[in-house]
Symmetry: none
Subunit: 223 residues, 2 copies
């Protein structure tokens, strides 16, 4: 089983997180101060650490800065203000994910699972991994995971998702997608693409994450 450290001074939130994570099969420890959190994270090899930005004494920024000098444990940052998230990104503090409060526990669990799944995939000698939120695509294993749960995709669905995920933030017309995934010389209706997009969305949809957006009158975009 995987061990998770929660560094959070609000006891209620910390216990809420712990309960949800334990129900989902993770072993959790809680540190209520930045200093104790840092000590624990250096002493033990956690699979993932959840850090709140606002902490008494040593704040989340300090904790991750000092931690990163020693270890590369995956970190999810929690903050009440979107500003902090920008700051973390800006400072290149090496957080692997960010969530703003308030967040749904389900979303937290999904993200934790995604990070664990990615890490597992990486340590199993697979190197060809694409990640987006709680979605993890392991190209070696030809496996797709959302929030840790494996999603059964058919070959075409998989190809379509991988193509879009490998080229995020670009909009492709249905014609282009058909050419790229079905082959230039394939003949058929572009409505096939619509249906496949629909099926992929169905299968990978979880919580509020919407990976494949519709660009009206133009096509689809992964983001």
């Amino acid at each position: 089983m995987h061990k998770i450290l929660i560094i959070e001074d609000d006891k209620e939130i910390a216990e809420l997180e712990r309960d949800y994570l334990e129900v989902n099969g993770f072993a959790c420890e809680i540190a209520s101060r930045g200093t104790t959190g840092l000590e624990k994270s250096l002493a033990t090899d956690y699979d993932l650490i959840i850090i709140d930005v606002m902490l008494p004494g040593m704040d989340g920024f300090d904790v991750i800065t000092k931690l990163r000098k020693k270890k590369q444990t995956p970190v999810i940052f929690l903050s009440a203000r979107g500003n902090d998230i920008d700051k973390i990104r800006g400072l290149g503090l090496g957080a692997d994910d960010y969530m703003t409060k308030p967040f749904s526990p389900g979303e937290l669990v999904a993200r934790v699972k995604a990070h664990i799944a990615r890490h597992d995939a990486l340590t199993n000698a697979s190197t060809d991994i694409i990640t987006a939120g709680s979605l993890v695509i392991d190209k070696d294993a030809h496996k797709v995971t959302v929030g840790g749960a494996q999603i059964p995709l058919t070959a075409k669905e998989y190809d379509l998702l991988v193509f879009l995920a490998e080229n995020p933030n670009r909009t492709y017309s249905k014609e282009t997608l058909f050419d790229r995934i079905w082959g230039m010389d394939a003949l058929g209706d572009v409505s096939t693409v619509t249906v496949h997009i629909q099926r992929v969305r169905d299968k990978i949809s979880i919580g509020s994450e919407k990976h494949i957006e519709t660009v009206w009158g133009v096509g689809y975009r992964f983001s």
Copy 2:
């Protein structure tokens, strides 16, 4: 003959396990309490111990924790809840295998045999062992065992299985498998691969374990 200790407070279940194991040639003893189980396991060198998590007085976690300080006897853990399994894994309690109730006696016997077979293979100076569930591949001896029973595989079947088992969680197309196992320059139909996969599956199939998965439209994957 191999000696097995069953630590289980439910008399009916304990006797069911014992009966099945004895029919399969194992000598069994039963301990109905954690304390007596621990004493017995320390006093005698069993080849394998089956421990139920829920026990009166000292529970399964305590038993294995205390046992592991002295001995490395293989242990199979039984639990009614999947949660416990995670806990065992998470605490690094050194259980070698886990089963959730309800389980089929046949499955239990198969796993017991697999552990015994692996143990035998290891103590006979063989080092090149691949294990997956009740499947044991001894590359030194060029022997494959499922639930303790030796499986006669032909050369090609063996090569195919070993290749897949050595590269788990990776999907290989029939073309790739053909190249790798039959040689790049071999000529022939890829349906040969299909047939061999089929035969290997036939021979190593036992209970619900499905080692070789079909990735539809793509290939096969060992997991």
